[in-house]
């Protein structure tokens, strides 16, 4: 570490396919909204990623929709949505007030609907589309598209045809074939892979013997899932050539660095914002201080620099 005072600042920009982000820190879908502007200036972020939208207005899941765990939480929010019209007429103009690129997360239960929505959100002001393919797919027996390489490739091919915008695929940790799924998304034309969504979990209130979520099961997020998301990031970054965006349990500067060293070009921060709404602002500042102190000229110099363990039995 060099002396912070006397080091030139490091270029914090990262390239995600055709898109350049001012820094590698962005929110994870579903854990971010305009409401966070009460707490800090949202333009310090590398990008803005919105809650997944679906075409039609929907109510979401029954309450309780969240419960907490050791080192994280479960959620079964579902995807409450005011529909595509509200997005176009209200949300898009709001976010146009910022200079950080806007990433729009979309989902659907069928491929037709997915492709149609993809086309409909291909609008000026949208910098990239994040396809949340971790949602139940009605055509595949309720399994998420991203559970299998074949359904992943099918849906991503449709989405690729539906838009010229950069297209990201958000993968799920619930599959047994994460690398095959990632390769399928890449083959179908994804410009980046977000690794990963929540892990399916459950919690029961022993006193009432009821599940602690109205939806019975839900997605686990937070520090508890970090080792799983990091492992997938490492596996997928080695196997694929498109950029990987790490996501899962990131709460500290070292967490963000861990994902980038494992091969991620940028990271998304979700649940940590609930514990500390200022966390992303802190990460942007701390990462930049760290990079300068390390004497880096570009933060991209750390991407994928994981080295082999020394190992040994002595």
């Amino acid at each position: 570490m060099k002396d912070l005072q006397n080091t030139p600042p490091c270029d914090m920009g990262v390239q995600i396919g055709g898109l350049r982000l001012a820094n590698p820190i962005m929110p994870a879908s579903g854990t971010f909204s305009e409401d966070l502007s009460d707490v800090f200036d949202l333009d310090i972020l590398g990008a803005h990623v919105l809650k997944t939208i679906m075409r039609d207005a929907r109510a979401g899941n029954p309450t309780p929709r969240v419960c907490d765990l050791q080192g994280g939480m479960l959620n079964a929010i579902g995807i409450p949505s005011k529909g595509i019209g509200y997005f176009r007429d209200t949300m898009l103009p709001y976010w146009a007030g910022y200079s950080a690129p806007l990433i729009v997360s979309i989902s659907a239960h069928t491929m037709d609907e997915f492709a149609q929505l993809c086309e409909e959100v291909t609008l000026p002001g949208v910098a990239a589309i994040e396809a949340n393919i971790s949602c139940p797919n009605i055509e595949a027996d309720g399994r998420a598209f991203a559970m299998r390489p074949d359904t992943t490739e099918q849906v991503m091919t449709r989405l690729r045809a539906a838009t010229d915008l950069p297209l990201w695929a958000k993968l799920t940790p619930n599959t047994g074939e994460p690398v095959e799924v990632a390769l399928a998304a890449e083959a179908a034309g994804a410009d980046a892979l977000v690794v990963a969504n929540t892990a399916l979990g459950m919690s029961i209130d022993v006193r009432t013997r009821q599940p602690r979520l109205g939806n019975i099961m839900g997605g686990m997020s937070g520090p508890a899932i970090k080792p799983i998301a990091l492992r997938m990031t490492y596996q997928i970054a080695r196997a694929c050539s498109v950029p990987v965006i790490g996501c899962g349990g990131i709460a500290t500067r070292d967490d963000a660095l861990e994902f980038m060293i494992a091969g991620a070009r940028a990271v998304q921060v979700g649940t940590a914002t609930f514990q500390s709404p200022t966390v992303m602002a802190r990460l942007v500042a701390e990462l930049s201080d760290w990079a300068a102190a390390e004497g880096l000229t570009s933060i991209e110099q750390i991407i994928g620099t994981v080295t082999a363990p020394t190992g040994g039995h002595s």
Binding site: V39, K51, T63, G71, G72, M73, N75, I77, P80, P277
Partner: protein, 281 residues
């Protein structure tokens, strides 16, 4: 009074004063009151003390031994005093988070996020207020009573409890110049029927321009009925499991009547205070 710095001073957007902040406070005292409750008094920085009655904070509770609360816990503001730099919460120990709060000792640090949500409104024409609550719900109404007194409104507070000695904050309401009526389960005075008579009597005496309540679904239904009958407006502070407390996650929705429709609103953002007539108990 020491003012502790916030954990992070993020540059506020040009011309915009952040509405809430994440701040590190220091515990002045944390004392059991009334058997079931604890009163927590904090030294807090000015930037979190521009509060409205009915708003709440999200507290990052310390971990009690063997338990690991992860999410923040929502707590109504029981008292705030920007001049003294103090903030107060009144809480009931129910689970991991509040057990963690109960371990706090004078001098300990506590990270708070707030003030959050929409507080009570008091249009000028509401000169006679009726406050009705039970248990820790009364905590939420305390700062409202204080503001009402400062603004010279007349106050009646009905405190409902299991036993008369458990009725929270009676002295506090008295000190705010309220007329206090204590009802309790022991003598049947806390049943909806008994309460209905008490309130009808207050209405008959012209002492009720508006209702304020919180917590109990039973009390809410009673006030909805009386409000509709006598055309008396009112507000209720509601609860729901929360994650973010800021409006981002959609965890905390409840259903409300909006004309013919039932809509979802976020308790943390559109609430926690809602018109009694729109709430669904």
């Amino acid at each position: 009074m020491t003012i502790h710095p916030t954990i992070l001073s993020v540059p506020a957007p040009e011309g915009l004063q952040p509405r809430c902040a994440e701040a590190r406070t220091r515990v002045v005292s944390n004392t059991p009151v009334n058997g079931e409750y604890h009163l927590l008094t904090l030294d807090a920085p000015a930037e979190v003390l521009a509060c409205q009655p009915g708003q709440f904070f999200q507290l990052l509770c310390p971990e009690p031994e063997g338990e690991h609360p992860y999410l923040r816990r929502p707590m109504s503001i029981y008292g705030y005093d920007a001049e003294a730099g103090q903030l107060q919460f009144l809480y009931k120990v129910t689970g991991a988070g509040t057990r963690g709060l109960a371990t706090l000792k004078s001098g300990d640090g506590l990270n708070v996020l707030g003030p959050l949500g929409q507080g009570f409104t008091m249009p000028a024409e509401r000169k006679n207020l009726l406050l009705l609550a039970r248990g820790v719900g009364l905590a939420t109404l305390a700062p409202l009573a204080r503001m009402a007194q400062q603004q010279g409104r007349r106050l009646t507070a009905i405190c409902s409890a299991r036993r008369p000695e458990l009725a929270m904050s009676v002295d506090l309401f008295l000190s705010y110049g309220a007329e206090v009526i204590v009802v309790h389960d022991g003598d049947g005075s806390a049943t909806p029927e008994a309460l209905r008579s008490v309130i009808e009597a207050q209405i008959a005496q012209g002492r009720v321009d508006a209702f304020y309540t919180c917590g109990s679904a039973r009390l809410l239904r009673l006030l909805q009925e009386l409000g509709a009958k006598h055309n008396i407006p009112g507000e209720v502070a509601m609860e729901q499991q929360m994650a973010c407390g800021l409006g981002m996650c959609q965890a905390c929705v409840r259903s409300f009547r909006e004309g013919d429709q039932v809509v979802h609103r976020r308790v943390c953002r559109e609430g926690p205070v809602f018109p009694i007539s729109e709430a669904i108990a």
